[in-house]
C-alpha cells in the first residue's frame, strides 16, 4: 500500500460550522457567560451610536430655535447720519430667509430713568424708581418672541395713533408692585403718563428687557434725551442665518456695507458636528475599551475551555483531525459565541437608547446599520479572541492531550 492511496483528512466548512455550533448550542450557560463580555462591548457601541444620534436631534432643535436663526445688525461706528432706522426693518424683511425683523434701541444709552406711579413725585423722592428704557418696534417684539403674563403687546396701530403706552418687564412689575392691568395702571416719567398694557415675562433674545420698560420708538425721545445706537434684530428661517448675515449690510447700507456689522451665530452645522464628534468619540472610546475587555474575557474563557476540553482535542486528533481542524473548531466557536454576544449587545444597546431617549424626551434615532453589523462585529471580535486559544489547542500533541485530559 502507498500513502497516496490513503485519502487526506478533510473537514468541509459546513461540517466545521455545524460541529462548532454543537458546542455553542448544547452548552448554553457557558455560551451566554462567555458572550457576556462581547455583549457589554457591543451594547456600549450600539447604545453610544444610538444615543449620539438621538442627542443630535435634540441638540439640533436647541441650536435651531435658540441660536441658529438669530441675526442682528448694528452700525460699525458713530456716523453723523444714522444708517439704521425703523425703515431698516422692511429692508431686511425683503431678504430671502428672513421671518421677522425689528428695531431695538436704548433710551439715554440705557441709563436708568426715574419713574413713579403717581404724577408729581420728583426723581429721587420716595415713590420714584429708576429703570432703563428700551425702544422696540412691534416687529422687534415679534422677533424676540416676547410674551406677556398679563395684558398684551403693542402693535403698529398703537404706533400710528402715537398712543402713550408701555410694556414693563416682569422684574420691573415686581418692583413696582403691579400684578394686574385691568384698571390701566400708568407710570409717570417727568409727569408724562404712560399706560402699561402688558407685563413681558419671556423673550427668546434681548433678555435685558425683562428689567426694562419697553416703549415704541416714537416715545423714546419723549421719555429720554437720546435714542441709540440702534440694532436691527432678525429671526431667519432655519439655515438662512449665514446668508442673511452676509446680505444684510448690503440691504441696509448699499453705499457703505462695511459700516454695518452683522452678528451671525456660529455655523450650527459646524458647531454641532464639533460637539457631536467629541461626544461620540469619547463614548466610542469607552465602548471600544468595553469591547477590548470583552475580547480578553472571551479569550480567557476560551483558553480555559481548551484546557477543559484537552481530552476531546486528543480524541479528535485520534479520529483524524489535523491541527488546522482543531484550530478551526476553536476559532469558529469563538466567532459564534461572539455573534451571540453581538446579538445580545445590539438588543440591549437599542433598549438602552430607547429608554434614554424616552427619559430625556428625545426622539429615539436608531441606526439599523449598527444593529445589523453588531453581530458581525461580535463574531469578528470572538474570532480574534479565539485565535490564541486555537493556536494553543492545535499544538497539543494527541498523546499528551489524551493523557492529561483525563
Amino acid at each position: 500500500m502507498d500513502i497516496s492511496q490513503i485519502p487526506k483528512s478533510k473537514l468541509t466548512w459546513r461540517d466545521a460550522i455545524r460541529d462548532s455550533a454543537f458546542g455553542v448550542v448544547r452548552r448554553p450557560t457557558r455560551t451566554l457567560l462567555t458572550a457576556l463580555g462581547i455583549a457589554l462591548g457591543v451594547a456600549s457601541i450600539v447604545g453610544t451610536i444610538g444615543m449620539s444620534q438621538s442627542a443630535r436631534g435634540a441638540v439640533s432643535s436647541v441650536f435651531n430655535t435658540q441660536l441658529a436663526t438669530q441675526v442682528s445688525f448694528a452700525e460699525a461706528g458713530t456716523s453723523s447720519t444714522p444708517l439704521l432706522s425703523q425703515k431698516s426693518e422692511r429692508m431686511i424683511e425683503r431678504i430671502n430667509g428672513v421671518i421677522h425683523a425689528g428695531f431695538v434701541s436704548q433710551v439715554d444709552d440705557a441709563q436708568p430713568i426715574s419713574v413713579s406711579r403717581n404724577p408729581g413725585i420728583l426723581p429721587g423722592a420716595e415713590g420714584s424708581f429708576d429703570f432703563p428704557f428700551t425702544v422696540a418696534t412691534p416687529g422687534a417684539l415679534e422677533t424676540m418672541h416676547a410674551s406677556v403674563s398679563i395684558g398684551r403687546l403693542y402693535d403698529n396701530g398703537f404706533e400710528t395713533r402715537h398712543a402713550m403706552v408701555a410694556l414693563i418687564g416682569s422684574n420691573v412689575a415686581d418692583e413696582l408692585g403691579i400684578t394686574q392691568i385691568n384698571d390701566g395702571p400708568a407710570i409717570f416719567v417727568n409727569s408724562i403718563p404712560l399706560t402699561i398694557i402688558g407685563i413681558v415675562n419671556n423673550v427668546s433674545q434681548q433678555n435685558q428687557v425683562l428689567d426694562d420698560i419697553i416703549v415704541p420708538p416714537d416715545e423714546g425721545l419723549i421719555v429720554g434725551t437720546s435714542v441709540g445706537p440702534p440694532t436691527i434684530i432678525v429671526q431667519t428661517k432655519l439655515g438662512a442665518a449665514q446668508v442673511v448675515g452676509a446680505e444684510g449690510p448690503y440691504a441696509l447700507s448699499p453705499d457703505n456695507p462695511d459700516a454695518i456689522v452683522a452678528q451671525v451665530p456660529p455655523d450650527p452645522s459646524t458647531l454641532r458636528l464639533k460637539i457631536e464628534s467629541s461626544l461620540t468619540s469619547l463614548l466610542l472610546i469607552l465602548a471600544l475599551v468595553s469591547l477590548a475587555i470583552g475580547m480578553v474575557a472571551i479569550a480567557n474563557t476560551t483558553l480555559l475551555s481548551v484546557v477543559q476540553r484537552t481530552a476531546e482535542i486528543g480524541l479528535r486528533r485520534s479520529l483524524g483531525a489535523t491541527p488546522k481542524h482543531i484550530a478551526l473548531l476553536i476559532v469558529i466557536e469563538g466567532a459564534m459565541v461572539g455573534a451571540v454576544g453581538g446579538v445580545l449587545g445590539a438588543s440591549h444597546g437599542i433598549l438602552v437608547t430607547a429608554i434614554t431617549a424616552v427619559a430625556k424626551g428625545w426622539t429615539a434615532e436608531l441606526s439599523w446599520q449598527a444593529a445589523l453589523l453588531a453581530p458581525v462585529l461580535g463574531a469578528f471580535v470572538g474570532m480574534i479572541a479565539g485565535l490564541y486559544p486555537a493556536r494553543r489547542a492545535s499544538k497539543l500533541s494527541p498523546v499528551s492531550a489524551l493523557q492529561n485530559g483525563l
Binding site: 500500500m1 478533510k10 461540517d15 460541529d19 476531546e312
Partner: protein
C-alpha cells in the same frame, strides 16, 4: 524477527525504540522488532509504567518512535508528514479508550458520527454508518441517549461503535474493560473478538489476566522490553506463564 508473508503483514516494528528527552532521558521502549499480521488478535500486558501505553501510542501513530522503522502495510511511517500520519491514523486505525472519551453534550449517534467527521462524508452518510455501527454493538435502542444516562458498559459499546464506524483495519484498545464491571467486561471482549473474526486486527492493552488468557498472542512489556509470546511459542512450543506481565495490585 518473526517472519510472515509480506502481503499479510499489518504492522512491522524493526528496532523501534522510544526515548523521552530531558535532564535524565528515559527509555520508555527498548529497541523492539515484531510483526503483527492482518486479522490477528493481540494483547499487550504489563505493569503500569512498563511502556505498554507508549507501544500502543506508537502503533496508533499518536506518538513517533525515536528510532527504528515502523511500517504499516508497507508504508514507512517515519517518512510521513503530520498530515499524512493523521490521514493514515484516521483511515487505518480505530481507538477504544479506557475513559471512553464520549462527548457529554452529544447523543450516542452524534458521538459515533464524530468518528467520521474528518473524512469528508456527507451528514446522511455519517448518520447511516453511525446507526449501523450502533446496531452492530447492540446499542441502536440507545441511539439518542446522552453519555450521562449510559452505564459504563454501554458507554464503551458506543465508543467501540465510534471506532468501528470508521471501518478500521486495526482496532487499538487501551484497557477497554478498565472502567466496567465483570459482566460487561466479558461482553466487550466478546464484541472485540467478534470484530476480529470479521477480519479486523485487534490489539488490546489489558491488566486483566482472564482477558489476557483469552487472547491468542500476547506482548508482555516490562521496563520497555517487549516479550512476544509468539516468539516464545516458537522456541518452547507452548506459551510460558512468564510471557505475561502480571499487573501489580
Amino acid at each position: 524477527m518473526t517472519t510472515a508473508s509480506t502481503s499479510s503483514v499489518e504492522i512491522l516494528f524493526e528496532d523501534v525504540y522510544r526515548t523521552y528527552e530531558g535532564a535524565a532521558p528515559v527509555t520508555a521502549l527498548q529497541p523492539s522488532s515484531f510483526i503483527i499480521n492482518q486479522g490477528e488478535l493481540v494483547g499487550i500486558v504489563g505493569r503500569s509504567g512498563s511502556g505498554k501505553s507508549t507501544l500502543l501510542n506508537i502503533l496508533g501513530l499518536l506518538d513517533q518512535p525515536t528510532g527504528g522503522a515502523y511500517v504499516v502495510r508497507g508504508i514507512n511511517t517515519g517518512s510521513l508528514s503530520e498530515i499524512e500520519r493523521t490521514s493514515l491514523r484516521s483511515w487505518h486505525f480505530g481507538f477504544v479508550f479506557q475513559q471512553f472519551h464520549l462527548l457529554n453534550d452529544r447523543s450516542a449517534t452524534e458521538n459515533v458520527e464524530l468518528g467520521l467527521l474528518y473524512r469528508g462524508s456527507t451528514k446522511l452518510e455519517r448518520r447511516q454508518q453511525a446507526l449501523e455501527a450502533l446496531d452492530r454493538v447492540g446499542m441502536l435502542h440507545r441511539k439518542d441517549a446522552i453519555p450521562a444516562t449510559l452505564s459504563g458498559g454501554e458507554k464503551q459499546r458506543v465508543a467501540i461503535a465510534r471506532a468501528i464506524s470508521q471501518s478500521p483495519q486495526v482496532l487499538l484498545c487501551d484497557e477497554p474493560t478498565g472502567n466496567i464491571d465483570q459482566t460487561n467486561s466479558d461482553r466487550i471482549i466478546e464484541l472485540l473478538q467478534d470484530i476480529n473474526e470479521h477480519g479486523v486486527t485487534v490489539v488490546i492493552v489489558t491488566h486483566d489476566q482472564d482477558i489476557a488468557s483469552k487472547l491468542p498472542r500476547l506482548f508482555a512489556v516490562s521496563d520497555g522490553i517487549i516479550t512476544d509470546s509468539a516468539t516464545l511459542e516458537d522456541e518452547n512450543s507452548e506459551r510460558p506463564e512468564n510471557a505475561i506481565a502480571r499487573p501489580q495490585e
